[in-house]
């Protein structure tokens, strides 16, 4: 009885340590995880948490935009908020699949051997920094949205207003930094998921993420940040 309890605690402690390693030592984390069977539960939970927080942010944004609608349109505003939440929720899972798919396809050119499921599992762990970014984004949104007045006639103007807020700008910059952190996790995840060299994994992850970051920075510049 006591021996079983000790064994269970050791296993739990090891998994906790491993979860910490995904942020600080992803190479070791994925190396250890490669020895185990593919398990999508934890990556799914990670993406789900990020998705829920993103959904709340999206719902808040839509709710703020529809707050100026006339009284008769209130039901539509609720529908809009719900649609925003669902969109935010789904978007994270789409991104998960998209990243994993892109990494899987690119790694084929470097002789990648692992399954897509494994690739999907390891890519999911890379969404942990996204959770941090989503929490920061939600806090900023809760702070900034009540202070902004905008007109429904010009949603682009609203977006500009939002992005000119220093808190929103800081949130965007931190988001880029966290994406770099995610990319670092994905490099080692893809390395072990697809059994390719660190250099090839760097290219596999670096090219699409680099393009995405360039696009994000150009959009921020366009918004006048």
């Amino acid at each position: 009885m006591n021996r079983n309890l000790y064994t269970q605690r050791r296993t739990f402690d090891r998994e906790v340590i491993n979860m910490t390693n995904v942020l600080t030592n992803p190479d070791g984390f994925f190396s250890e995880l490669s020895a185990r069977d593919t398990n999508l539960k934890i990556p799914f939970a990670i993406v789900l948490v990020a998705a829920i927080i993103a959904a709340i942010s999206a719902a808040m944004m839509v709710s703020a935009m529809t707050s100026l609608l006339p009284e008769e349109a209130v039901p539509f505003a609720a529908i809009g908020a719900a649609a925003g939440a669902i969109g935010g929720l789904i978007m994270q899972f789409i991104l998960w699949l998209l990243y994993a798919g892109v990494f899987y396809v690119i790694s084929i050119f470097f002789g990648g051997e692992g399954s897509f499921k494994r690739c999907l599992e390891f890519t999911g762990y890379g969404f942990i920094p996204t959770i941090i970014g989503a929490v920061i984004g939600l806090a900023v949104m809760m702070t900034v949205l009540p202070t902004i007045e905008f007109s429904l006639e010009d949603p682009q103007l609203f977006q500009q207003t939002l992005m000119q807020n220093p808190l929103m700008q800081a949130s965007s910059i931190i988001g880029i930094l966290l994406t770099l952190w995610s990319a670092n996790i994905w490099i080692f995840g893809i390395k072990h998921a697809r059994n390719i060299s660190t250099k090839n994994a760097l290219i596999t992850v670096g090219v699409p993420v680099g393009l995405y970051l360039l696009y994000s920075i150009s959009m921020m510049y366009k918004m006048g940040i």
Partner: protein
């Protein structure tokens, strides 16, 4: 003034020719006297003219008087010459000498044939001290041949009443800008006043024109004159105004004066009210009303934001066109501006054309504090130090995590190599 007198200098009017005369008959020409006085009413010191026209009323040169004798024979008894012979025609001053006839009399005028006229013009002058009333000049005609002498009195009126200027619409106080004032030009005389010109004058004020032509003012009549007075550049305080009316009675020029004053208040014609500044877009939106508290209508009113450091006018309304703004009316405006965080007032320019069509620029300032402005944010230039520190910390955390992970990977790689070497 024109009068006609039918002077019967005939004992018997021979209207049907020939005339059958049973008794002694004497026939002379009929003279019609007509006269005009210009101007109809003189003022003391005025010169004028008296024109006397004599017309011979006869239709034929000779009138035959016949006589019917027994047996029905008609024989001419006498023939009368109907030409009027005028030896002299003169006009004399009135008995007190208050109206002087300046012209000499006419002598050796000659014959005035049937239906012909003779005109005699005399220049007269009223004495400076001549009293008001009707004065009679004496016209004397010396005839010849069968023409009888006669005298006639020509009445000439003297009235010293001057043209009157009445301040019918001069406000006691005006705000800076163009105001409208009204003067009544009143003619209390019984004769027409011609060529009336009003000349305004005043220090530290500008009138719409140097002179205003009124023209003729009929007897007992009134003409209202509207004058624009511009106090845009005036200092506050009392301004004395004088108005001089120059007019003519006949050929003599006269003047009447009017003195008035206005108080210029130290306030602009246009004032801003209901100012509201909101942060409704990336920029601030300023809304409010421009009120015309002046006395005249304004046109081409444009409200705009002056660009300055930290103040950038933005679309869609860097300036707002209001157009016409009637007196005691207002126009709403909306402006868009980008403001830096340290800006607490916005310079506003109001341009318009006043009632004289003069282009006026008025500068105002809108205080951001207390205007209802919702100032959330600052531009990227105004990112606070706290936020910058937060970004730097986040960057260091991420870079640290990445560097640490790569360092860890190298150490584990070395350990693996050592283990593989031992094996």
């Amino acid at each position: 003034m024109k009068k006609t007198l039918i002077l019967l200098s005939i004992v018997l009017i021979a209207s049907i020719l020939p005339i059958h005369a049973d008794t002694d008959t004497e026939i002379a020409p009929t003279i019609v006297v007509d006269y005009t006085v210009d101007p109809a009413t003189l003022m003391p010191g005025d010169t004028g003219t008296v024109t006397i026209i004599l017309t011979n009323g006869a239709t034929d040169e000779v009138v035959h008087v016949t006589e019917t004798r027994s047996g029905g024979n008609i024989t001419e008894k006498e023939a009368f010459d109907m030409n009027a012979y005028v030896a002299s025609a003169s006009l004399a001053s009135d008995k007190n000498g208050e109206i002087t006839v300046l012209s000499d009399g006419y002598t050796s005028v000659g014959l005035i044939g049937p239906s012909d006229s003779a005109r005699f013009v005399y220049e007269i002058r009223a004495d400076e001290d001549a009293p008001d009333g009707t004065h009679f000049l004496r016209f004397e005609l010396i005839g010849g041949s069968n023409m009888e002498d006669f005298r006639y009195r020509i009445p000439v009126k003297i009235d010293r009443t001057e043209l009157k200027l009445v301040a019918s619409g001069i406000p006691s106080t005006v705000v800076r800008g163009v105001s409208e004032i009204a003067l009544d030009v009143v003619n209390l005389r019984s004769s027409n006043m011609s060529g009336v010109v009003v000349i305004p004058d005043g220090s530290d004020v500008v009138f719409g024109a140097a002179e205003f032509y009124v023209g003729d003012v009929p007897p007992k009549g009134r003409i209202t004159l509207t004058i624009n007075i511009d106090t845009t550049g005036s200092t506050a305080g009392r301004k004395d105004l004088t108005f001089k009316a120059r007019y003519m009675n006949g050929d003599t020029v006269h003047e009447s004066d009017l003195e008035a004053s206005i108080e210029v208040i130290d306030r602009s014609t246009l004032i801003l009210t209901g100012i509201k500044t909101e942060h409704t877009s990336p920029w601030h939106t300023i809304t409010g009303d421009v009120n015309n508290i002046g006395a005249t209508d304004l046109s081409g009113v444009v409200v705009s934001i002056d660009a300055a450091d930290g103040i950038t006018p933005r679309q869609p309304y860097p300036q707002y066109f209001i157009g016409e703004l009637e007196a005691d009316d207002f126009g709403s405006f909306e402006l868009n501006v980008e403001l830096d965080s340290d800006i607490d007032s916005i310079p506003i320019t109001i341009e318009y054309r006043d009632a004289n069509q003069a282009y006026i620029v008025q500068h105002e300032s809108i205080d951001i504090e207390g205007s209802g402005a919702v100032r959330i944010g600052q531009s990227s230039k105004g990112m606070s130090a706290g936020i910058i520190v937060l970004i730097v910390l986040a960057g260091l955390l991420v870079i640290g995590a990445i560097v640490y992970s790569w360092k860890k990977r190298k150490e584990e790689g070395d350990d693996m190599e050592e283990k593989e070497g031992m094996v």
